[in-house]
Amino acid sequence: MSDQSVPMLWRRIRHRYNLVGRHCRTCDSKYFPPIPLCRKCRRKSDLVDFQFSGLGKIYSYTIVRDPPKGFKALAPYAIAMVRLDEGPLVLSQIVDTDFEELKIGLSVHVVFRRIGDAGRTGVLHYSYKFKPLRKYVTGYVIGTVDGEEGVQHIQVPVEERERTSVRRTIEEAGEAVRRRKSKEPADEKSDG
């Protein structure tokens, strides 16, 4: 983190703080982090900023016990590929967990955390991380930022999220691999 320039950090604030990615209004694909052109539609892209709900499930994870420089104080820590509810896969640390509860398919939600600093006198870096979803987490903000819908507030039915089994997630992963091999377009969702 410490080798990042201040302007580079500043440019990333918007998407890091609020999980703001892109939504292609031509094919309905959603991307995170933001990309300049839809991978499917290319010149027919119609991209607008999109704020993800911050809800997702662990697609895969590992525990880091031998961390790189700058992350030693955090070790051991969990990092995971999180499948956002809207489609994209995001790599992130999973916080506030004792590791025992971690499993593929576990529901998680976004939290706002410090991800590093440029030394004791440098600028602080904040971003998204994920945390296992507790029953008491009831609502999240979702919606497009620059699109027509505007920011909406939704209530998240927690019971629905917890119904998903590990098996279903593995099946989903298998389906994605099969589609990629046969070069079929994914319906509605994108890998981001």
Binding site: A73, V111, V141
Partner: protein, 349 residues
Amino acid sequence: MKHVGILGFGGYVPKYRISVEEIARVWGKDGKAISRGLNLEEKSVPGLDEDTTTISVEAARNALKCAQIDPERIGAIFVGSESHVYATKPTGTVVAEAINAPNSIQCADFSFACKAGTAAIQVCIGLVKSKEIDVGLAIGADTAQSKPGDALEYAAAAGGAAFLLGTGKDCIAKIEGTYSYTSDTPDFWRREGTDFPEHGSRFTGKPAYFRHVHQAALGLLEKLKTKADEYDWAVFHSPNGKFPRRAAKALGIPEEKIKPSLIVDRIGNTYAGSSPLGLAATFDIAKPGDRILMVSYGSGAGSDAFSIEVLPPLLETRERMPKIEDYIQDKISIDYATYAKHRRTIKVE
């Protein structure tokens, strides 16, 4: 214009806890006696990646979930804390970006020891009342510092709460009035550039905490022509479990009326987050028509007293975000070595 009210509130308490007995063990003290003396079992500890800014953001997001208002309506963001992460860059700038507030906001960090959060609420009330802004966001949050081995270490905790101040029929509570009492009383301070605060030990009691809390409370009651027994609930700044109980007793307020706000017993003194979190915890159980007396205390010294009436929308809106009790119960206990790492008293690259 009628009274200014609270449109939404939200709190946040980090997940980690260390017990008073564990801290006492390291310093060779009688943990049970200290725990009994302070009326304190354990305190909250921020995660390694948590600070006043992240706590403020989580609390503000909860307040927005509660109020369900468009963040574009926010015209001011003030964060009160004694552990702001920058000396010059306001915490509120990060909070604003993280909650999609507009750029056209007034923003500043507030400092007044443990009452910086309630000072922020008062300024928002003034701005809303004068129609300078539509909605104001006031936050009190801290990751309290304490010197290792010092008496403060048993209580100095982390947490915060946020309040959206505005007007209209959606208000969950009405601010009936406020009253402040301030004097030059050096009971606790942290000099510029130093890591930990110093304090005047027993001097922090009678001439400092109790004098200011009582004067502010009595001043408010006189200003509004009300009596202490007209309030259903009371919230006092809680540096430990003992002081708020004694403050309530001196004002003739029975202990059961301060019980919902006595979260200090289980999470410690969250400094600028203390009375705001106590108010949020009281909102979690109060019913429409209830009146709440809140008195903060900031060393240095001053107290802000508030008279608040609960309105019917609270019953529906408070179900939209986690309760303070949810955060208190969702915890991981840590030992002193891990605590030292979390508080960065062990330096790691």
